[in-house]
Symmetry: C2
DNA sequence: CATGGCGGTTATGTATACAAAATTGTGCGC
DNA sequence: GCGCACAATTTTGTATACATAACCGCCATG
């Protein structure tokens, strides 16, 4: 039907269960229970849980299966900061190596597309602003992906991928929730200016500037994160480590 | 016998097969074949391969099992540089937070122990120098482990762990091969001075200095790595991506 | 009443049989 | 002789049965 293998289906399904908050942080994930719910055998469930534990979404308990991982607010901030660190390193690597005009064009084109988006809605009150969220997310992710790819550093790319597997560390994870908040428009415009500055630094081979711009770029996300945390706009089901019994039966 | 579960045994065994060069980079790792060799069923082998692919030692081929991962010389350098980046971040975090005297004492004590080692053999010609390798490795690893732990940043710690799972990215992976090369003594002494400088920066809350010292500290390893690469002292079985047929039968 | 062992129960760990997919080899047609 | 399709074989993916270890309540005992 949807995915290729049962294991992939299981991974997606369990991830959704966690992110949507159906299962809460700290809660045990029993194989049989999951297998029943997903209408498959324990084998692919087990395999998926193994993968998810490596990705950090579930915590493996030695000899006692797995539980949903829980994160503190500080963890979110740290993850974003680390993404900035890695993207900064990527920007430096890109700046310090010989990159083709094609690669630079790729980066420029994505940023031009984002510019077009903002020209189309120059303020928060503009009509198309609201509808542009997903276009922006796609383009933003494409830019960050390109940036890491352009560094041509497989080890860095791997580490970056592992970090952004966390459901709040990816470049666009918070965008959808922040887009509609008042004052967000200027933040995204500022972020886009940083995008341009990063590419300019890369094009002119200024590695140090590129690195620090990459790090500073993450600060905007951190700011947005803090606003969302204080305003309660962040309905994250991953954070509160509320212990809850397994409770398959609702008899009480 | 040795380990707790078959899966752990499989993981250890396969890792050894790869690191010792029994199986070469790019070579396919068939489950049945491994299961036979390790005298167990496919299930724990499969589980271990899954884990190893997340650690980066084997590469998962979608739908076609796994193959031994291969690394280029540039990958080794990049891994070391990234370790410096993360240790620098850890040092900064440690410097910028309120750490207890106990934590500082722990760091100081490890460094004092390393000092004792060097006082015991002040030059390469000193008698006990050769025998101190493993003591140094233990203490060095303890220091780097403590440094990351002191940052109190679980996301960073996780990322660091994932990076150092690579068999050449860990702080002491190259030490044993470099120890006996001429001129290494001064390098280790210099590294130890950087250790002290890092702890001093942390103690005096100088985060930026701590971070850059952490990054610079990795440069020594990079230097050592280059020497070993040029001198052929690095008998790594992970690097050459020699394609080889599966060849269970040697009939031809 | 607290505690510690004991057995029932449930969960994970492992083996194996079977299904499906991919690879390889082979033969047919051109 | 070359290429393509098809079948044989191998390999991975999945289900299920069994083994083993962890958990939980109970009862005996101090």
């Amino acid at each position: 039907m949807s995915a290729a293998t049962q294991t992939e289906r299981a991974g997606k399904a369990i991830r959704d269960l966690i992110i949507s908050g159906v299962v809460l942080p700290g809660e045990r994930l029993a194989e049989v229970q999951l297998a029943e719910r997903l209408h498959m055998s324990r084998t692919p469930v087990r395999s998926a849980l193994n993968t998810l534990s490596h990705e950090g979404l579930v915590q493996a308990l030695p000899g006692r299966g797995d539980a949903v991982a829980s994160f503190a607010a500080a963890d979110l901030r740290h993850a974003v900061e680390l993404r900035g660190l890695l993207e900064g390193a990527a920007a430096r690597h890109a700046a310090e190596r010989d990159l083709s005009v094609f690669e630079l064009d790729q980066l420029n084109r994505v940023l031009k597309d984002i510019d077009t988006l903002f020209e189309d809605s120059p303020s928060e009150d503009s009509a198309p602003w609201k509808d542009h969220v997903h276009e922006y997310i796609d383009l933003n992710e494409e830019f960050h992906r390109l940036l890491v790819e352009t560094a041509q550093n497989p080890v860095l790319a791997r580490l970056y991928e592992q970090l952004t597997k966390l459901p709040f560390a990816s470049p666009s994870d918070l965008v959808v929730g922040y887009w509609h908040l008042p004052g967000s428009h200027s933040k995204f415009v500022a972020a886009q200016q940083q995008h341009w500055a990063i590419v300019e630094s890369i094009a002119t081979r200024r590695g140090t500037r590129a690195e620090f711009l990459g790090r500073e770029h993450a600060e905007i996300t951190t700011k947005a994160l803090d606003e969302m945390l204080h305003g309660g706009a962040l309905a994250r089901n991953l954070m509160a480590a509320v212990p809850r019994r397994t409770a398959t039966a609702e008899s009480n």
